[in-house]
């Protein structure tokens, strides 16, 4: 990794799910979003996906996706992804479908690193949803 070219992020988006079409390998990003509502916190976002398109990358990389609470820049979690990219002449793409814990309402970021090199970020706003009229019973979603 230390001698590999520095990747450039062409696109990085948060959505519900990344689908790769068999045959053409075309990607569909389903439900691109920035905001997340919950009646209670801590909460869980059981389905979220991050899509990353990179240029200039070639070789072995350890990408790190860090989920950071911007209130105090505390790290909620980090996911490491090992990838071997063969040809820097072509764009390379990563898709991560996962579920995340959201400790409190506020602003968060997904920060992408290649090794220890900061590449890019996308923000996510966790907001408290207004209570429904009539006191409806509601359970927060849980990670499966």
């Amino acid at each position: 990794m230390p001698n590999e070219p520095v990747p450039s992020v062409v696109a990085m988006l948060v959505c519900d799910q990344v689908i790769s079409e068999q045959g053409t390998n075309k990607k569909s990003l389903i439900g691109v979003f920035d905001n997340f509502y919950s009646l209670v916190f801590p909460a869980a976002l059981p389905r979220i996906a991050v899509y990353v398109k990179l240029a200039d990358a070639q070789g072995d990389y350890l990408f790190k996706l860090r989920f950071v609470n911007l209130r105090d820049e505390s790290l909620v979690f980090e996911i490491s992804i090992q990838a071997k990219i063969l040809d820097s002449g072509e764009h390379s793409e990563l898709a991560l479908n996962f579920g995340v814990p959201v400790p409190e309402e506020g602003k968060y970021e997904f920060q992408l690193y290649a090794g220890e090199e900061y590449l890019h970020r996308v923000t996510l706003n966790a907001k408290r949803a207004p209570l429904p009229q009539g006191g409806m019973q509601w359970q927060p979603p849980k990670l499966p």
């Binding site: 520095v6 990747p7 450039s8 992020v9 062409v10 799910q17 990344v18 790769s20 079409e21 068999q22 045959g23 053409t24 390998n25 075309k26 990607k27 209670v40 916190f41 801590p42 909460a43 869980a44 389905r47 200039d56 860090r66 950071v68 911007l70 820049e73 790290l75 909620v76 979690f77 980090e78 996911i79 490491s80 992804i81 090992q82 990838a83 071997k84 990219i85 072509e90 764009h91 390379s92 793409e93 990563l94 898709a95 991560l96 479908n97 996962f98 814990p101 959201v102 400790p103 970021e109 920060q111 290649a114 090199e117 900061y118 890019h120 970020r121 927060p140 849980k142 990670l143 499966p144």
Partner: protein
Amino acid sequence: MATAEAPLVHSAQQLESGTAYIPAGQGTQYFGGLLGPQHGGPFPLSNVPVMILPSDQLPNPRPSLVLFAGLRDPKLRMKQAIPLDVTVEEGHVIVNWAAIDEFGSGDALSTAINDFAYALRALYWYLAGVEELGPDLANIKLTLSQYIEAR
């Protein structure tokens, strides 16, 4: 009360390049250009190793040094990452590249890095457009050329 649980990775994939269409004759599975059935599960199988770091092993997200590689200019390529010193002054995060004394500031590390990236892009293109530079600016241009190159 709900509790925040650990993250759960359903699928992690390094993806193949997409193709606009499948030409006829590339295989009967494509029915002459039409795609066959897609996978039925909610998530495809992972094809790259993934590791989730537990909360007690997480590094400091606002370290005293960051390696900057987020230039975000489609006409430029980074040859190597730029080391940035990180400090906090009066509630603002400041990142500084000591070699050319260029800095960025913001409410958080990433906003400071974004501010630095903006300043660095502007500086690069300004210096690229000037034919004759004084010794200080020429030195800065030389330093920049060791980290950034045009595509």
